[in-house]
Symmetry: C2
């Protein structure tokens, strides 16, 4: 089931982001967007649209746009002036292939290309809904969302006095959680669900996002390059603020377990094989 | 007259871009956006809205958003991996004050903050018009607009075989022209003008944009730091593709004169003191 979604998303990413002139710019944009990945955010967008009674065809442009936005954050996060990562999903980072200037510009380009993909391909979505989705896109993808999280993450790096629970929560909420919220809220909006179901979906998104990030923090300690496709153990070396650094690995696993259980309980109503598969996947990766 | 517009724009930029948490991110965004400047793009947006029968109050959020977008291009253009400029408008560049990481993220943030400013503050604009303005914003501000121009500009730097008239035209059209087109087209859309007047305004924008860039190319050769507030003579040193490098300074001045005359002629219908003041200002700066 999950693989069908991934195939659908990959086909549509290819369709929505074709090569144009200047070649190098579009090659760079495509390089990271089309890297093989789990496509969790667009899958969540499609699945919540379906769960809440919508048509997944209508959600495809938005789902793909959110994956483009995610790719943008990866390209810029990997830059030497940020996390300085040479690998991403087992391949050289964007700037290692295209150079820093083009990688920076490709990230910039995705930030406008993504919402335009929504705008140009959503014929069945009413203008008011479209504007609400774009508003969310700008909030969760911007200065009050994922970027706010990234800035605080950078500021906390290597500064023990900044390693507070409040900063940790802020980073997790925004840096990781906000793109899942964007994905799930957009799916719910496209399905035209009611207020109550919308709020529940948003609640699921926040719990899932936190679970995902805690799992990532645990894996940075316990996994290796072959499994993850990126440089690991970097959190400890660069003295990053993580769930593990604040609460220790046992508490991290305990918190993760309780979040996965919460999501699992909510899924009893949704009755979604996809959500179930994703939750089990996370539990399995960190050996819960 | 021009000064009234600049005052109005500065007040609204301040209003639309207030400091929030994380402080450093918003300080960095505000630093470049609020730098004293001529505000040509937002002025053009307001003035074309007025000329074509619209209410400039309705155009203020869009005008300010275009200035934010312009600031974004300046922040990223100045980065070490791009043009590596330490000064902008007579002040240290954004990354010299806030560091490369925050400057990169502040630029990213403006790319979503700007269209959200339009979306959140345009109560009097119909959703369809709003979507058309956002579509233009994504085109002219993105991979098919200003970023395409910047990529080709970088690729041509130092490579004589790339210094063709076609590449020069592409760079000028997109890197400089597209933000003026965005500004003027948006003003015209908000005024709800008819097709014919919209096309004429867009034509004016393209001629004006080219004139502005040729003037800039001439000034890089003939002006100095005190007059321009940025490092000059860099085009020749880094072997940039400019109108002057391809056609020589006399032909550049000749072309500039004919473009300014064309704009001046179109302005006979518009009868705009502001446009007149801007055109004369450009002519005066390059001593035409």
């Amino acid at each position: 089931m999950m693989n069908n979604y991934i195939k659908l998303i990959d086909e549509n990413l290819e369709k929505f982001l074709q090569e144009e002139y200047p070649d190098n710019l579009f090659k760079s944009m495509r390089y990271t967007v089309l890297l093989e990945g789990k496509r969790l955010r667009p899958v969540m967008c499609l699945e919540f649209c379906k769960i809440l009674g919508g048509n997944i065809e209508d959600a495809l442009p938005t789902a793909c746009a959110i994956e483009m936005l995610h790719a943008q954050t990866l390209i810029h996060d990997d830059l030497p002036c940020m996390d300085n990562d040479d690998f991403r999903r087992g391949k050289p980072s964007n700037h290692k292939v295209f150079g820093e200037a083009v990688a920076t510009l490709a990230g910039d380009a995705l930030l406008t290309y993504a919402p335009q993909t929504i705008l140009k391909n959503s014929k069945n979505i009413k203008p008011e809904t479209l504007l609400a989705i774009l508003d969310d896109f700008f909030t969760f993808g911007g200065a009050r969302g994922v970027i706010a999280g990234q800035v605080v993450d950078i500021e906390c790096e290597g500064k023990k006095s900044f390693h507070t629970k409040e900063n940790l929560e802020f980073i997790h909420k925004h840096k990781t959680g906000d793109l899942f919220r964007l994905a799930i809220r957009s799916g719910a909006r496209i399905a035209r669900t009611d207020r109550e179901n919308f709020e529940r979906a948003d609640d699921y998104a926040q719990s899932f996002g936190l679970a995902f990030q805690i799992a990532d923090d645990i894996l940075d300690v316990t996994s290796n390059f072959e499994e993850m496709g990126k440089t690991l153990g970097k959190d400890a070396i660069s003295d990053k603020l993580t769930y593990v650094s604040v609460y220790g690995i046992d508490n991290a696993k305990c918190k993760l377990l309780s979040l996965l259980e919460k999501c699992d309980n909510m899924n009893k109503d949704y009755n979604s094989e996809i959500l179930d598969e994703i939750l089990r996947g996370i539990g399995k990766r960190v050996n819960l």
